[in-house]
Structure formats: C-alpha cells, structure tokens
C-alpha cells in the first residue's frame, strides 16, 4: 500500500466517522422527537379518554333524564334499551322480557310503519311518525315518534333510537273535532235551507242545497259576491242592511229577495242573515239561510185572492138574503093590511066563516113571515162577520126570560152560575133563545120547569138545558136538527129554530145531542169551543 492509497483510505475513514457522527446526531434528534410525539400522544389519549368518559356519562344522564319515553331498538324492532319513562308508558321492561315494537303497532298502521321504517333506513332520520299502538294493559295509545339511526364505526346502521310522544289526548280531541265537523257538515249539507257563509259580501262557503237552488257546481260560487247572484232590484236594499250589520247596528235581519241562477232565471227567497262576531265584537262572517218561497208565495197570493173572492161572495150572499127577505116580507105586509081592512070595513057583510077565513089568512101570513125571518137568520149564521166579545151567559138567559113569552106556570132556572165566554153575542143569544123557547113552548105539565146548567173542560164549555115538556119521539132525534123539520103544526114553529142551533154549535166547533122521552121531557147537551 502506498502512501497515496493510505491517504485515501484515511480520508475515507475520516468521512465515514463524520457521517456516523452525523447519523448518530440525527438519530438522537429523531428519537427525541419520537419520544416527544409519543409523550404528546399519550397526553392526548389520556385527555380523549377522559372526554369520552365524560361524554358517555353525560349521555347516560341524558338518557335517564329524558322525560319523554326514549327507546333504542335494533333494526328488527327489538328493544335494546329504554328509559324509565318508556317503561312506564309501554308497560314493558326490556331487562325482564324481550320486546318487539312492531308487535305493538295497531293493524291499521302496520303498512304505514313498514313504509316509515324504509324511509328511516334510507334517510337516517324519521320525523312525525304517527301511529296507534297497543300498550301492555291493552289500551290503545296514539303516539308520535321522532327517530334516527345509530351507526357502527364502519358507518353501518345497527340500531335506531326514538323519542315517543303520547298524543292520544290531542288525537282524541282532533278526532272529536273531526267527527263534530262531519256531523255539522251532515246537518248543513242536508238542510232544506240554502246556507251561505260570506265575508263582507264575498261568498266563502255554501251548502249543496244552495248550490242546487242556484244551479251552480261546487266551487263555482266561491269567487262570487252576493250581489253577483242577486237580482239588481234587491241589491241596494240588501247592501244597506248589510252595512247596518257590519257597523253593529243590526245582529240579524230577514229579507225577501230575488236570486239569479246560473242560467239567469230568478227565484224568490226568504233570506235570514245573522252576523258572526269575533272576540272583539267585530263582524267576521255573515251566515245566510235561504228559503225558496216562490211556490209558497204563489200559494199565498192564490189564498189571498180566494179569500177576497169568498169575502165578496159572502157579502153578496148576505145582501141577497136581505133583499130576498125584504121583497118577500113587503107583500106579506100588504096582504096582512088588506086582510085586516077587509074584516074592519066589511064586518057587517061577512058571515062567521068569512071572518074565520080572514083570521086563518092572517095566521098563514104570520107563519110565512116568521119562516122568512128564520131563513134569513139561518143563512146569516156563517156569512155574517163574527163580533167576538165577552158575554155573560147569566145576562143572556135573564134577557131571554124577558123577551120570550113564558107562561105563568113555567119557570126558567139556572142550576149554577153560568160562565162568561168569548163569542159573538147575537149568535149565542140566538142559540140559547132557540133552545129555551123551544123548551118553554112544548111544556104541557101543570108546573113547567126549564133548567140551564154548565160545565167547563179544558177546551169547551158544556151546557145542559132540560125541560119537563112533551118530549121528542126517538125517531125524530136526528131529524130535528135538519132545516124545515118541525114536529108539530104549531103556528110559531117554523122548523128552523133547532137547525139554527145546530149551525151555531157547528160554527163554534161544538157538539149537540139530545135525550128525550115522550111525556117526560127533553135534555139538550151542547158544547162551545173556548176561544
């Protein structure tokens, strides 16, 4: 080895030494760094572990302290964990028995639940799942659940957690409201009246009755205003009434107005409008009830016309009866006068038979005169106007005692004080007079007695007039109330008296009947409806 060579080797060695020192130095530095990092990492780790512990216990606290029922389940609905509130609500405890939540779902919600679960798996969260479930004691609960998935470190879903809210009460209230609304709708929709809800003239809601009346389909009326469907002649009046309602002067009003159908035809309707006010007393809506009165109105008009015609013809009839009776009575008066003069002026040339004939003639004239009177009275009963007033029947009977001929041996007695009634004086007087005079006229006993008594029921006054006269054979009991049925040929018996009685009793919606025995007497029972 030469020097050069040795030198080269020495240099190389030198370089190697240097490099090694350098390397050692780097190594030393790196290992220090590594040590530091490790130390640092150790510290971080410790902190992390601490934090984790902290969070875990925090979570535990949260889990326990959640007031609402809280449940964690696996993806097959098996409960993994639940809080006390959940245990209480569901009635189950996962630590004592396994619980499958899907089994609690009401059958109506099974499909919905499956669908919701799918959505949870896809999105990771599920909001406002609402279903009916059956808890352990068998009661049905309506619940709302907000839920989210739990993932493992590889981000695979492994479980789901959810907070349950018991909305049974809320749901029941809603259900009740829904039912009530349904019932209300049934009433509104089936009402024979058209019903319209408006807000300051704008139509908000109508029922089907109204739409049918108007010939519109559902929804077609919603954009319209009341004046669009009212006849122009009525718009002004309705508007001014509506204004009074909106300013609070009126709470409700009723008008009869014309509406215009979709086909432009019109109909007359009675409309009752009421204001619906809010809490501040401001008018919020108007509710109108509409009744089609076209037919009713035409019937009313027809009735009015008929009534007028009837009134007219009644008046005419009464006039006619008076004229006929006058025209019949006048010549009777002349004949009577002439017959009287004949017997006065020619007494000396008339023999007994002649005088008798004239007397008989006068009797016939009298009979005819009272017949005409009777017919006039009979025909006036229902065509004359009734003048209703208070009538003291005691006074009536007393008056009758004075104006009819009562023989000395006959007494008219009231068995009880008679009532005061509401009726037409003339007709009631006629009624009592005809029966009483009929009784008085047919008494043949030595001591005649006619008694009058009364009784009251809820609807009628009942009267009884009894005599001890000749009586009426039974075969005539029905006939006696018919016109012109006289049982004997007494001159002042026209046969109209009792038919007038019957007609007056009919007029007062009463009944009349008689009991009678020949030679014993007669009882008339009749009633008059109270007014």
């Amino acid at each position: 080895m030469d020097n050069k060579e040795v030198l080269l080797l020495k240099k190389a060695l030198e370089r190697q030494k240097k490099a090694r020192i350098q390397a050692e130095q780097i190594l030393e530095q790196k290992s220090k760094e590594l040590y530091d990092v490790t130390r640092h990492l150790q510290g971080v780790n410790e902190r992390l572990e601490y934090l984790l512990n902290e969070k875990a216990s925090e979570l535990d606290g949260v889990f326990i302290n959640i007031i609402d029922p809280y449940v964690v389940m696996d993806l097959d609905f098996n409960v993994i964990n639940m809080n006390a509130s959940a245990k209480e609500f569901l009635g189950y405890d996962h630590t004592t028995a396994s619980i499958n939540l899907a089994a609690l779902v009401h059958k109506d919600y099974v499909e919905y639940t499956a669908h919701s679960m799918k959505s949870l798996m896809e999105i990771g969260t599920l909001k406002n799942y609402r279903a009916k479930i059956m808890v352990k004691d068998g009661t049905e609960k309506f619940v709302q659940i907000n839920s989210s998935l739990i993932y493992d470190k590889e981000n695979n879903p492994i479980a789901a957690q959810g907070i349950i809210r018991d909305i049974t009460k809320e749901w029941e209230t809603k259900e009740l409201l829904r039912q009530q609304k349904k019932q209300l709708d049934i009433i509104v929709e089936n009402s024979p009246l058209g019903i319209v809800l408006t807000d300051r003239g704008r139509i908000i809601k109508t029922n089907s009755t109204f739409r049918t009346m108007m010939g519109y389909k559902e929804g077609e009326l919603q954009q319209k205003c009341v004046k669009d469907i009212s006849s122009p002649e009525d718009v002004e009046n309705s508007a001014s009434l509506m204004e009074e309602m909106n300013t609070g002067k009126l709470d409700n009003f009723t008008v009869v107005k014309k509406y215009v159908r979709k086909d432009r035809s019109e109909f007359l309707a009675k409309t009752a409008v009421s204001a619906f006010k809010n809490r501040e007393g401001k008018v919020e809506y108007q509710v109108a009830m509409i009744e089609d009165i076209t037919e009713q109105r035409s019937l009313e008009l027809q009735k009015e016309k008929l009534l007028k015609e009837l009134e007219h013809s009644n008046k005419g009839l009464q006039e006619y009866a008076h004229i006929v009776s006058h025209d019949l009575k006048s010549p009777l008066r002349s004949i009577s006068a002439l017959a009287t003069w004949l017997s006065e002026d020619h007494k000396h040339v008339l023999n007994e038979q002649g005088v008798n004939n004239l007397v008989m003639m006068q009797e016939k004239i009298e009979a005819m005169d009272s017949l005409i009177d009777g017919v006039l009275k009979y025909s006036s009963i229902d065509i004359g106007s009734l003048e209703i007033g208070r009538i003291d029947l005691n006074a009536i009977v007393n008056n009758i005692r004075e104006i009819i001929f009562v023989p000395e041996h006959v007494r008219i007695v009231m068995l009880n004080p008679l009532p005061e009634i509401q009726a037409d004086h003339t007709r009631i007087h006629q009624l009592f007079q005809n029966i009483i005079s009929n009784a008085v006229n047919h008494i043949e006993a030595d001591k005649g007695l006619v008694t009058v008594s009364s009784k009251e029921t809820a609807t009628h006054w009942h009267f009884k007039i009894e005599d001890n006269g000749v009586g009426i054979p039974e075969e005539y009991h029905k006939k006696i109330f018919e016109v012109f049925q006289s049982l004997n040929s007494q001159q002042h018996s026209t046969g109209i008296g009792l038919s007038i009685v019957k007609k007056i009793v009919d007029l007062y919606e009463g009944e009349i009947s008689l009991q009678s025995e020949v030679a014993k007497g007669t009882v008339f029972n009749f009633s008059i409806k109270k007014l």
Binding site: S330, S336, L376
Partner: protein
Amino acid sequence: MNILFIEDDAIESLKLHRTITKLGMRHKIQNAHNGEEALAMLNSSDQPPDLILLDLNMPRMNGIEFLEVLKQDEKLKYLPTIILTTSRNRADLLECFRIGIAGYIIKPLKYAEYESKLKRVLEYWEINELVKG
C-alpha cells in the same frame, strides 16, 4: 105637519093615509115614489116639509142614496128624517145612523101594530120644535 112620504108601494101609502084618517090626525102627506122624485119635490117647493118618512128599498134612487144627498144639502139637512122599512139589516141600520136620521122604524107585520107605531112617531114629532122654512 107637512109630511113627505117617500115610498114606492101603493098599499103602504094607503096604510099611512088610513092610519092618519083613523087617528083623526090632520097631517098633510106628499107622496114621492123614489129618491129622485122626492129631491125634485124638495127643490121645486117653496115650503119644505116638517118631517120625512123614508123607505129604503125603492127603485131608481134608494133610501140611503137619497139620505146622503139630503144630508149634504145646506138647507135640507135639517129635515128630520125617519126610516120606515121592512129591512132588519144591521148594515143598513148602522149606515143610516152614520149619515144622520131621526129614527129607524121597522114596519110590523100586523096592521094594528103599524097603526100604533105610527101614532107614537107622529105624536112625538108633533110636540117637537121643528125647523120651519
């Protein structure tokens, strides 16, 4: 008294005359057969009657129509007018009293009663102070 008797029936007229004669009364009777005739008489005469006896049912102008005209006349309205009729029609009775009458007598069926009624009416009016002229 001067009596204006407004009546279309001849026998009624006989009845009145006979009654006055029989009672020995000395009243002067003028007979008109309907309202129109009576008005013509009243308007043409210088001397109005003291009393009018008026029938209601008459041809041409009936009693009530006559009465209405009479009561609208400034002079004639003072004439006491007594209705003498067969009509018991209450409507007529009310209408007559409404317009203004001095009496409403229903003609009775029997002549004897007629006499006694007329006697009382005429005697009553005889003692009354009458609006002469």
